[in-house]
């Protein structure tokens, strides 16, 4: 699976992508969806909601389990992916693309300094195996 080089990754298996200087997109990684198995339900936040780094922004439920998703940076929700509310399995088939979950206006990009780049995340996954 291709982990995009321009994404940053959290230890909770969320990804973060800068869209421009002040906004970004957030989703769960290929590894996360693979661990969960068939995703059947996604709960997303309301647009306009302000969340702190490490706050729960949503829930992904598979047949097996429900897991919380955490904000990799603080920010305001400016868009949610309504497509995955109807077709949750997109999180399995395209977690890094069509399966994005939310878009946020970020408070401070420096908060993302603890996120991993692609190489670090792949090394992190290696350790988990």
């Amino acid at each position: 699976m291709n982990y995009p080089a321009d994404f940053r990754y959290s230890k909770d298996h969320e990804w973060f992508k800068m869209i421009d200087d002040s906004t970004g997109a957030i989703g769960i990684t290929h590894y996360a969806q693979d661990q969960l198995g068939d995703v059947v339900f996604v709960e997303l936040p309301e647009i306009g909601k302000k969340l702190e780094k490490n706050d729960v922004f949503g829930v992904v439920e598979s047949v097996k389990a429900a897991v919380d998703c955490y904000m990799p940076l603080s920010g305001e929700i400016i868009a949610i992916n309504e497509l995955i509310e109807k077709q949750a399995d997109i999180l399995n088939s395209d977690p890094h693309g069509e399966g994005w979950m939310i878009k946020v206006r970020i408070d401070n990009p420096d908060e993302g300094s603890d996120l991993m780049d692609k190489a670090a995340y792949l090394a992190f996954l290696e350790e988990l195996e």
Binding site: D38, F41, A66, N92
Partner: protein, 366 residues
């Protein structure tokens, strides 16, 4: 994971792309392709499960029957050879040690099939409570158990055994060869579909597995993991030890009255159940469905309005029915079919109602 046990089919699972997880002290495949795909395959064609982690205890000798009668709640004395029965093994307080199948292999030989997580506990319980002229032996590691389940299961196994499978009725079994290996061929299962459970010498694990896989290929059979075993049994309204039944609940509370024969001579737990009946039950295991899309899970609270009335023991988004279903215990008075309930899911209540079990039944024409 080094201390986990492997079944004789561990390598076969890796060959089929099984995703291995720790389960009840074993390394077992939770899925191969996906839970949803395997679930639907069992409902529409056939699936093959490795359930060798289940425990088997062999009772033999002149006093075997009398001892099993004392250990379990159902009546084994009326069980003829080549038949099996589902029953409970209870503590003196009437709650479950385990639920199990008892196979009568001959007049004085019985195979008791128990849950993997309970095998050692059960075996110890049995040893502590038997007396007289009999042998009670844990033979779990000697057996491989494979479940072939689904509407195509008969057609597939027909090609591998000389037995007239169609003549084996539900909860009966024959002993004959499957793919050249002596097996117990049992018309039982945990999926709500027609199917068979095969028990045979673990030395021949791959031989039978590979033969069923190859023959089944033309009939849409796929290997199926523990993930869909759980979603299938839940749709079929079958209780799972550790979820829906346990050492805190009795078979009467679980709605399993039919496995309790108070008319037979004494058995462990009988007096407690008689007393429970006299006093009246205070809680009941129910089936429920939700009218909005949310997934009920074990441990979630059940409400009637603002009043907490119980707890979910199993729940899922039913793959066959496309709606959330579950089981749980509620206080007496809330168990009638149609009763409105709510399930608390992450701080929000979702409406539902008590419905009849099973949620899915092939003969009902779902």
């Amino acid at each position: 994971m080094t201390s986990l046990k492997r079944t004789g089919l561990y390598d076969a699972h890796l060959r089929s792309g099984g995703k291995i997880v720790a389960f009840a002290g074993w390394k077992m495949p939770v899925q191969y392709s996906s839970i949803i795909d395997e679930h639907q395959t069992v409902r529409t064609a056939a699936g093959m499960f490795d359930v060798s982690h289940m425990g088997e205890v062999l009772f033999s000798g002149p006093d075997a029957l009398a001892n099993i009668q004392m250990l379990v709640s159902n009546d084994i004395s009326k069980l003829k050879p080549n038949r099996a029965v589902y029953t409970g093994m209870l503590y003196p307080g009437g709650t479950f040690v385990d639920d199990l199948l008892v196979y009568r292999l001959s007049e004085d030989t019985f195979l008791l099939v128990i849950n993997a997580a309970n095998t050692l506990k059960d075996y110890e319980w049995m040893r502590d409570n038997i007396r007289g002229n009999l042998v009670c032996e844990n033979v779990t590691d000697q057996y491989t158990q494979i479940a072939v389940q689904g509407p195509n299961s008969i057609e597939i196994l027909k090609k591998l055994t000389p037995v007239d499978l169609a003549s084996i009725r539900y909860y009966r079994f024959e002993r004959d060869s499957v793919a050249g290996v002596d097996s117990i061929i049992s018309r039982t299962g945990y999926t709500g579909e027609p199917g068979f459970e095969l028990y045979f010498d673990a030395t021949f694990s791959d031989k039978v597995w590979d033969a069923v896989l190859e023959t089944g290929n033309n009939f849409g059979l796929k290997p199926a993991g523990l993930g869909c075993r759980d979603t299938l049994r839940l749709e079929a309204g079958m209780a799972l030890y550790g979820n829906d039944i346990d050492d805190q609940h009795t078979p009467l509370e679980a709605g399993l009255d039919w496995i309790v024969k108070l008319s037979k001579d004494d058995f462990i737990g009988k007096s407690a159940l008689v007393e429970q009946l006299q006093k009246g039950l205070t809680r009941h295991l129910i089936g429920f469905e939700l009218t909005e899309r949310a997934i009920p899970r074990k441990g979630y609270e059940i409400f009637s309005g603002n009043e907490p009335i119980g707890e979910v023991t199993s729940g899922t988004l039913s793959i066959t029915l496309g709606k959330p279903v579950g089981m749980g215990y509620v206080r007496h008075g809330f168990e009638s079919l149609g009763t409105n309930i709510e399930i608390m899911v992450r701080g929000k209540k979702f409406p539902g109602r008590v419905v009849a079990l099973p949620f899915y039944s092939r003969t009902r024409g779902n």
